[in-house]
Subunit: 149 residues, 2 copies
Amino acid sequence: MAQTKNFRFEELLDKHHLKKTGARLRVLSMMYSKNTATSQPDLESVMSDIDRVTLYRILNVFEEKGIIHKVFDLNGTANYAVCHSDCGENHHHDEHLHFNCTNCKNVYCLDDLHMPRLTLPDGFKAESFTLYASGLCPKCSKKSNVMAN
Amino acid sequence: MAQTKNFRFEELLDKHHLKKTGARLRVLSMMYSKNTATSQPDLESVMSDIDRVTLYRILNVFEEKGIIHKVFDLNGTANYAVCHSDCGENHHHDEHLHFNCTNCKNVYCLDDLHMPRLTLPDGFKAESFTLYASGLCPKCSKKSNVMAN
DNA sequence: ACATAAATGCAACATTATTACATTTAGATT
DNA sequence: AATCTAAATGTAATAATGTTGCATTTATGT
Ligand SMILES: [Mn+2]
Ligand SMILES: [Mn+2]
Ligand SMILES: [Zn+2]
Ligand SMILES: [Zn+2]
């Protein structure tokens, strides 16, 4: 059962010539199970049995391989999210909106909201764009509506 | 002469009911003298005689008062830039493009490039937007052109 | 089953940031 | 000009985040 559940992640690791280790599979299954990014502190506390350094190394390879991407939230905290664009070895295309909820602190990757390519002042050569927004996520805006009644 | 040069900054501190101290004036004059943001590490090394804690406190009040705003660069390093929008006590409106040069690491506030207000998925209530771009700044793109010849 | 590169664990260290408390100072009051 | 006091600074201690070097273990190909 746990075997079956991890099958796709094992394939994913294979594809990237990474060894299938317990730590890596757990990180993948945690990140793929959520629709928001996961903060480094969260990862660290959930995976507290995995050594901190190992965790950093796992996150770094995953990022290099184009499996996940790193997003800093409004507090400068590192968050990691699964790539849904076709990212590859040192080539990311995660140019979507990152929504940071000021209440629950969750970071949402809104893949559908792509960047409007705009014209920069003379001399600036842009290679990539990222869009940030902050405010209330659906869950928290619903809650605050209820509170107000 | 140094007196004259600091006059506007003394006025600024006055306006915000902040005492005119040497440290604060130096931070202001450094940040206003540049057209890019200043990173925390840079500030710390330039102002190495000012205690680190004091520096953090200065940056924090300035941010609260709406004198400067904080921007995290691609490496998650805190950068601080003068506000050119009409920001005030706990009310920032710095919704412009932040350009992070991958070569010189400088962060430019491109105030003229405002956010295209876009429609978010159901439930998301955005309060503010920020736009990030990375690539080469004018100085660095010029240099890399020269190199290529 | 064996060999080996890859992955992990561990210790030490660096940087960034915050808190509590003691001391100093800017600016107001007399 | 001397005095007062809230505000600002300094100092020490601690926490959180991230990196490096090296020893040990393990996944995987043979
Ligand atoms: Mn994303
Ligand atoms: Mn800015
Ligand atoms: Zn929320
Ligand atoms: Zn540059």
